[in-house]
């Protein structure tokens, strides 16, 4: 598991940052994000919290060995869930990869909160984790196969050497008997 975190301050009021959230893409700095779709949205009529679920489509240069090994493609999709709470003035954005998620997950969380100076604090954390169960079961299978191969080869080796010794010494014995 790998962890990542960073903090930053935007010199804009919280409301401007939260309005800006919906205008982030397309962005010349983030050309890897090519599509953005809202797949679900709800406004809590009591708390006023807006929950939005989006699917982001990314194009990135995946190393060819990853594509070959995992059967992925250049298109990668991410599920993003955001909550905007105007009462507490907290906005959180959680993102998890959909593509290749059977092999590894990247769980990212971003939070925007107002600072006392009227600016906005940005906090980003991420956890990147390979699906260990998958690796372990694959490793177990590989190990079992190796053990079987080793036993097989060991048996073949034993049989082979037995033959060599028998042939060698039987021949010597025959020679001795004749002389």
């Amino acid at each position: 598991m790998h962890f990542f975190s960073q903090t930053f301050k935007y010199e804009h009021p919280w409301s401007h940052v939260v309005i800006g959230m919906w205008h982030k893409y397309p962005n010349p700095h983030c050309t890897h994000v090519v599509t953005v779709d809202v797949v679900d949205r709800s406004i809590d009529s009591k708390s006023g919290i807006i929950r939005t679920e989006r699917v982001l489509g990314c194009k990135q240069k995946t190393p060819i060995w990853i594509v070959k090994l995992f059967g992925g493609s250049e298109d990668a999709f991410v599920r993003e869930i955001s909550f905007v709470d105007p009462a507490s003035q907290v906005a959180t954005i959680t993102s998890v990869n959909l593509s290749l998620s059977q092999f590894a997950t990247c769980f990212e969380r971003i939070q925007y909160t107002p600072t006392s100076s009227g600016h906005t604090a940005f906090l980003q954390t991420a956890e990147i984790q390979a699906r260990m169960a998958m690796w372990r079961s694959m490793a177990d299978k590989f190990e079992t196969w190796l053990v079987q191969r080793f036993e097989q080869n060991a048996n073949l080796g034993k049989a082979g050497f037995t033959d060599v010794l028998r042939t060698m010494w039987e021949a010597k014995q025959q020679q001795a008997a004749h002389s």
């Binding site: 779709d37 809590d44 709470d85």
Partner: protein, 108 residues
Amino acid sequence: MAHSLSPECTPLKHAYDSCFNTWFEGYLEPAVSPSSSEQRAQYSKKKADEFEERCGKVWVEYKQCVQKAVKDKGLGDLLDQARVENPLRDPPPAPSPGEVSSSSSSSQ
């Protein structure tokens, strides 16, 4: 405005995004100003109804289009699985101070 994952949904997506953005900008400023929870609930209800009234129709059309596109791209099962694993129906708790640092770290 970013494109939809299916070009045929892009016009509907743009219409829906514009509708939401206009509504949201009007919603947010008064929503952050302090008020009692009663006033907040009243305001939230009014604005939620207003959003439904203004953007509800285009949302139904766009949602239909994008749901099909998600399935066509083979993302339906992945999305369902992700929703089971992390429903995220409620706002997550704030990260604990221990998690916060300004540098990146890695551990096994």
